[in-house]
């Protein structure tokens, strides 16, 4: 058990438990808080993977931006009534099927990891930490050279989304 593994298990457990609470809490604000916890735990996993820049992007964008938006909207749409209504619809069967299907995949992943054709992949040691250093510079360079076009498209998409959101939420159209 080194610090790497400890932090992984800690953040993974935190992420999974918070995620379960996100979908089971009755109150949307509580759900949002647990989602924040889950996202922060994911950020922790990114940090554990030495993806510092992504860690900070996750914190700033997801936690500081998107989740604030969520909390904001939850407070705008008064949920006093909604909280007392039935929270779950009757799709348990579908959910169960999906869970079983995905669970089967988990099993297969573990299974293949220990035997079978893909074992080599799973036994591949991770690249040395230095391969991705310095992290933010590498991502920056990559974004502005290799991924220039997707980057521009993403920014245009953000612009469109912004305009769309403004149009949607405007008082009286």
């Amino acid at each position: 058990m080194n610090i790497d593994a400890i932090s992984f298990y800690f953040f993974a457990a935190l992420a999974v438990v918070s995620a379960i609470l996100v979908v089971t809490r009755r109150n949307a604000v509580h759900s949002a808080i647990f989602l924040v916890a889950a996202l922060l735990a994911t950020a922790g996993i990114f940090l554990q993977l030495h993806a510092e820049f992504l860690f900070i992007v996750q914190v700033i964008l997801y936690v500081g931006g998107i989740m604030v938006l969520f909390v904001f909207v939850i407070m705008l749409v008064n949920l006093d009534v909604a909280a007392r209504q039935m929270q779950f619809n009757r799709m348990w069967f579908v959910a169960l099927c999906l869970t079983i299907a995905l669970g089967a995949q988990v099993y297969m992943v573990i299974h293949y990891a220990h035997s079978g054709v893909m074992e080599a992949l799973f036994r591949l040691p991770p690249a040395p930490a230095a391969a991705l250093e310095p992290n933010s510079e590498l991502i920056g360079v990559s974004l502005f050279t290799e991924y220039m076009l997707p980057f521009e498209i993403a920014s245009v998409m953000l612009l469109v989304a912004m305009i769309g959101a403004v149009v949607m939420a405007k008082r009286k159209v």
């Binding site: 705008l76 749409v77 008064n78 008082r171």
Partner: protein
């Protein structure tokens, strides 16, 4: 509460009625999104309604589309009390109306009774009255400036204003022993002779005060935020102001040169040179400028008055028991907030048959609805401040 409103004779939609004592909050959900128009309630226990004014605002989002001022939380029946007191006994009561300008109230009442009796205060008394009243005008405007700026968020001017007001109150204290509700004048003149250093004190204060006003102006007049919060806010046109009967700085800021000190001079105002500042736009900023200039002019009047205080008696010859001849009289003075009028009916006894007071705050408050329409909730605070109302005077 509901009963009160019903007997009040106003049509009140009880479904929107909010208990004024317990709930003075904003209905948030509906403010931000919900239905088209909602009614919120400000006061009577609200830090910036200057006392116990209660305002019901009809809002469209954050925009005010209508308003109703509900007054009477400080009603003490001053006019009724007058009918059971002798003329002299009633004089201290008027100090409790506009308690930040008690001297002006007293002046109006004393002059009204003098007019009813057909006597006139001696020249010396009239000059001293003028000095003290003008000092009181400055003090009242200082309170207005401090609280108005505080409402808009400027924390510092209020301390400067109260520092200068303190000097004025010291002069009052030296003159008559009281600071706030002074009861400085008596019917027929003055009870107290001016103390020895009155001239010196007033001169020192007034000379000092010129620079102090400049100091306030450096803090506010050119300030972008102040301009943004006051220019174009709470506009009332000259026609509207006349129709409502607004007086004082409110009407002068709309461009009407109406000042009773010039229109129907009383006390010793006809002896002194002073200007009537007027505005053009009738907005909060102009009212601010007008009041600032008025403070300068008041100081100018004081400086002229102390140059030449006539000698002689300070009390006209009137009896111990005042029994004015039957009849009626209306006398108005220019109080700091506008035209303060006393209408007194005498039936020949020692007690007035009826005293009706025309408080400037009440009449000016009528302009509130016109001013506030189309502005945001945050501006309501500024508009209440700019009207310079004192609830003690509104409710009496």
């Amino acid at each position: 509460m509901n009963d009160y409103l019903k007997t009040d004779g106003r049509a009140v939609d009880l479904s929107n009625e909010i208990d004024p004592v317990l709930d003075h909050s904003v209905d948030v959900e509906t403010t931000v999104l919900g239905a088209d128009e909602i009614i919120i309630n400000m006061g009577p226990q609200h830090p910036s309604t200057h006392g116990v004014l209660r305002v019901k605002l009809k809002l469209d989002g954050e925009k005010v589309v209508g308003s109703e001022c509900i007054i009477g939380y400080l009603h003490r029946g001053v006019e009724k009390i007058a009918e059971h007191r002798t003329y002299q006994q009633f004089a201290p009561y008027v100090d409790r109306m506009d308690y930040v300008a008690a001297v002006s109230n007293g002046l109006g009442y004393c002059e009204a009774v003098e007019k009813l009796m057909g006597v006139e205060a001696p020249p010396r008394a009239r000059v001293i009255r003028t000095i003290l009243t003008e000092l009181q005008r400055i003090a009242s405007h200082l309170v207005w400036l401090g609280t108005h700026a505080l409402d808009i968020g400027a924390l510092t001017p209020v301390f400067y204003c109260f520092r200068e007001r303190e000097e004025i109150l010291k002069i009052f204290e030296k003159y008559c022993g009281a600071r706030l509700t002074t009861h400085a004048f008596r019917i027929g003149g003055l009870q107290y002779e001016a103390y020895d250093e009155l001239e010196a004190d007033t001169e020192r204060f007034c000379k000092d005060f010129e620079t102090k006003v400049d100091e306030y102006e450096t803090l506010l007049t050119e300030n972008r935020i102040w301009i943004g919060r006051t220019k174009g806010i709470g506009v009332i046109t000259a026609e509207d102001a006349i129709a409502i009967g607004a007086t004082g700085p409110v009407i002068r800021a709309s461009g009407i040169e109406w000042d009773i000190r010039k229109a129907a001079p009383y006390a010793a105002y006809d002896q002194y040179k002073f200007d009537i500042p007027t505005g053009k736009n009738g907005d909060t900023y102009d009212r601010y400028l007008v009041r600032m200039e008025e403070m300068r002019q008041s100081s100018r009047i004081c400086l002229q008055a102390i140059q030449n205080i006539p000698t002689g008696p300070i009390m006209a010859r009137i009896g111990k028991v005042l029994k004015p001849p039957p009849g009626e009289v209306y006398h108005a003075i220019e109080a700091p907030k506008g035209e303060l009028g006393y209408y007194i009916v005498s039936d020949g006894t020692a007690q007035p048959y009826r005293v009706r007071i025309r408080p400037p705050s009440l009449i000016n408050l009528q302009a509130f609805d016109t001013m506030v329409k189309g502005h945001l909730v945050a501006d309501v605070v500024a508009i209440i401040g700019t009207l310079d109302i004192v609830l003690g005077e509104v409710d009496r």
